[in-house]
Symmetry: D2
Subunit: 335 residues, 4 copies
């Protein structure tokens, strides 16, 4: 039985408690939060879980095998490091940390001690992203030509971290997963802060690769409507993933173009193809349950979870470069 | 009666002939094209129009007052210059020319001779863009915070000019018009060419201003679906302009956010507002008819058309800078 | 403090428990169900509520003021009668009973004893229906010309009662409410049973009035998609209520037509008007909370609830006539 | 070369002229209309076509082989009869005539003389309806369980014939075609006339069959939005045909339900199946071109056109019965 301690009972924490409670082979041993009201709410639902105000009690407790951190971004590195040094496996809410250097240090500690270090990239565990991954891996899409993802809505400005750390992190984790960990060679990002907080609330990220792939991400907290739409183009087919759709989230288009060069080399012939569209049925699964199971499995069976530390590293590396570009009006950042 | 010569009878030319024929106070005197089949088609519909293979015949003809150019982009400057030097007023299909320097030279010639120089920014004459302009000018939107426009579909690669010269030109002309000629201070653009032609078929442009405004444009020839959607955010209201919608093209959202700073300066209070939505009825007008009338009026009444040369200059200035940034992976171009 | 007993803990019962628990001035005293597992689930959440297997224990308990019935349709009359005869106010899940005669008898008992008798017409308490009601009552819509409502999806066949008792009941209750209790003079209904159960799973109801109003309802358990769309036409404006839309549920169209008779009496002139569309913001309320509050208020303050017995009577009267017509291929039933 | 005379140059007539002109093996010989302006417009486009004010000139002309009637509904029977008696093959705009008796008489004359008698059921020639037909004929849909079609918009009241003769005629012709000429045993129709003209502008038709099929049609001239949506349910799959969609008109749902009876005969087990959705690419064809070709082929090659007289008879039979039921509030009409 893997015993789990969960730190942070804000918006997401109670969902983590509920899901880890339901994983076979795991149980939530303790939860920590400054706020006693939050602790009491957990107590009412799960009277056997220990409550504490100080996360260190969890880190110090030798009965606990694994720690889950659902705390503000800037605390991730410190808390994860403390937990790892106490020989706990650690799962961190996204993003894993605030810089590539931080992530690398955490990975080193985890590796040296044989601990699991994971980041909660929840979307990887949805039926929609799983389907996209399988279409790409099967070769049905052909080579990946572009990934263009928009995640915008009105609300919930974070006062300390720009919108890319809140929203683009999802798109980057999805891209990392479905592309098989493809790494950009350069990043350019633009955007603007409309408040005196100086935190960018609208941002665009472009990723350059050393081949024919291109990626672009739009993030906004100031759109009048909620849009979560990703276009994925391959040499054979194209996919539109619309996460706002209740059931028809994935549409696979048998459309594309091809270029040929006839003998007269001065001309190009481009052939456009418009074909059938296919909307696969997606399994109804709770993604966070998959996250919890994957973390527990990574500890008990020494497997590599989808949201592994390398995936977290790739995402944070891009976010860090994008933030640097963002404050310099699109300056190209080589990574 | 203003007598018009039209050069180029490809896709757009016949529409120009039809619309100029219907303008009061104007008539199409001659048309020119290399292709005799195209000339014959015009002849069948309008037997009185003169036909010629050489545009120079039009430029040389003293009976002709005005020339309309619907020829490939790279010919705009040469042909417009020739026509202006023969004292013809000139309207050019978008974009006006291929560089800021070319446009400035054409403007100088036109000004010196008191001729009208216009560019066909057709969208400015639609009911939808007219409505957006009036909402902004009335103050209902508040200050412009962002303009985010997506114009993508599958098809019709131009073999010589990247997708921004074909598609973003529309968004830039709309932005120039509704913002009252607001000029960016810097541009960053990214994108990719997926064919050996080396012409970018997917591109993104960011515009930076010296105030709280930001603009971003997405252009693509390789999307499986046609999207023409523009989000316009103001401090008071927000607009979504969806040009693919048959009737409900404009939605005005009484939504927004505001930031206040309470006494405790370490905290920010952000208030989100979600209100009613209003879909105004738009007049059913043929935009190109408005273009033709505006050009003729600019000649006969010495008025300034919506698609005036300054508007053309602003758009070409941005396109030129964006193309430079595009080939340098988002490099910031100061303008 | 009004003490409530709730009978039936199937799909809807637990929602009733939760909402009645949250009403000021009320508390759930007891719940009854045959199934001990269901009782235990309530016990875990609300340890103070008494549990029983027999509804009669609730009816007999002098401490209990009000009974809520969430049991199968065919039990409504018997259970409600028992409860009323024990001087309990009663709220019944829709439909109130299975015949006009049953409802009239229940109303008589309730009236004689000064008890509240209510039916849970939940939709009346939604922000959308409240908005429609206010638009009609303000005169903005003009005279009601038609009400055309479609409520279809795939699933949950009831083995004993046709689809109109399950789905059309909602549309009829909405019509009754927004029309101010307008009563049809005749009913025609058609449909089919596709299973050997002989229970109609697809049905259409037409309501005839003694004026210019017409109503039509489509009910189906065998549609591949979920549609919940109501068109409401008035002499001045028209409304579309789409309950599947997450936020834009109500659209008010400033459209219509008018007929004039010029001097030449042989001609009719019809003028069509297409105007603006307005999407009002709707309050975010939990309808069932409103139901619970209205029932409690009807007891403590002797008010008439929206889902009053007359509303229930009107709906059951139509359902009974429609079912009779349904088995006779649309035969006109005068009511 | 089949020589065609076209009578009636209102809204639809010029489209017929254009399409018959483009059919191989046919030419438009003459057109007739009272209105000389309409005749002149045809003359400008097709100077070789003869013009006349009196349809009899066409019927009397021995050079003409075939007559196309695009005149008001109430003239169809008279004009068609005259033409047939002059040994012309005849195509009539929908509906073929105003009663079953009229159609039967026309059919008798045509048969006796070996002439082609056809009705312009345009929708049968669209890519969408062709696709539906092929899905049903292949067995992929299973047995047809229901056909539910809605065709509503705002406008164009006909002053003499109710909305079912204008709109439901399309749905009935589609049903007749895709069902392989399935004939209802009874009809019930309801609706209302909102103008003093007394012509029903809102109507609903139900069709009863001697098996498990059911059909329902909604027709309206007073909807604020244009809807053209048909749901078709089979025992294996279901189709939604949305003719307002620009490209994705047909969606095929691999969804359905099945009923089983376990040993305990008192229980029914219903299994719901929600599967993939498939949107086939449809050919881009002009339906009216197909109509014209089919009529010409029926003359030159003695083939049976899709819009044959039997199809016209089935549709008119239902319309006539429906109109009778409509004025009697849904009375069941046996046919």
């Amino acid at each position: 039985m893997i015993k789990v301690g969960i730190v942070g009972l804000g918006y997401w924490g109670p969902n983590l408690v509920r899901n880890f409670q339901s994983v076979n082979g795991a149980e939530v041993h303790s939860v920590a939060d400054f706020d006693n009201n939050r602790l009491q709410k957990i107590h009412q639902l799960y009277p056997k879980i220990n409550l504490c105000n100080d996360a260190n009690e969890i880190f110090e407790n030798p009965e606990i095998d694994a720690v889950v951190l659902a705390t503000p971004i800037n605390t991730h590195y410190d808390l994860a490091k403390k937990a790892l040094l106490k020989n706990k496996s650690v799962m961190v809410e996204k993003p894993l940390a605030t810089s590539r250097a931080e992530v690398l240090e955490l990975m080193e500690i985890a590796d040296a001690r044989g601990l699991s270090l994971m980041v909660d990239h929840t979307f990887l565990y949805t039926g929609a992203v799983q389907k996209i991954k399988s279409v790409i891996d099967s070769g049905e899409l052909g080579n990946l030509q572009y990934f263009d993802s928009t995640r915008i809505n009105l609300g919930l400005f974070n006062p300390n971290w720009s919108v890319i750390w809140d929203l683009a992190v999802h798109d980057l984790s999805i891209f990392d997963y479905i592309s098989g960990g493809k790494k950009p060679v350069a990043v350019s990002a633009t955007g603007i802060a409309h408040t005196k907080m100086g935190i960018e609330n609208l941002a665009y990220i472009s990723l350059f690769f050393d081949d024919d792939t291109f990626a672009h991400i739009t993030s906004s907290w100031i759109s009048p409507v909620k849009i979560r739409k990703t276009l994925i183009g391959g040499t054979k087919k194209m996919i539109i993933y619309d996460d706002v759709e209740p059931t028809e989230k994935i549409k696979i288009y048998d459309s594309g173009f091809s270029v040929s060069t006839p003998e007269d080399m001065h001309k190009w012939l481009i052939d456009y193809r418009f074909g059938d569209i296919y909307i696969p049925k997606l399994p109804q699964i709770e993604a966070l349950k998959g996250v919890a199971e994957d973390f527990i499995r990574s500890i008990s069976e020494k497997t590599t979870p989808l949201g592994n530390a390398n995936s977290g590293l790739n995402v944070v590396t891009i976010l860090e470069a994008a933030q640097k570009s963002l404050v310099n009006r699109g300056e190209t950042i080589i990574i």
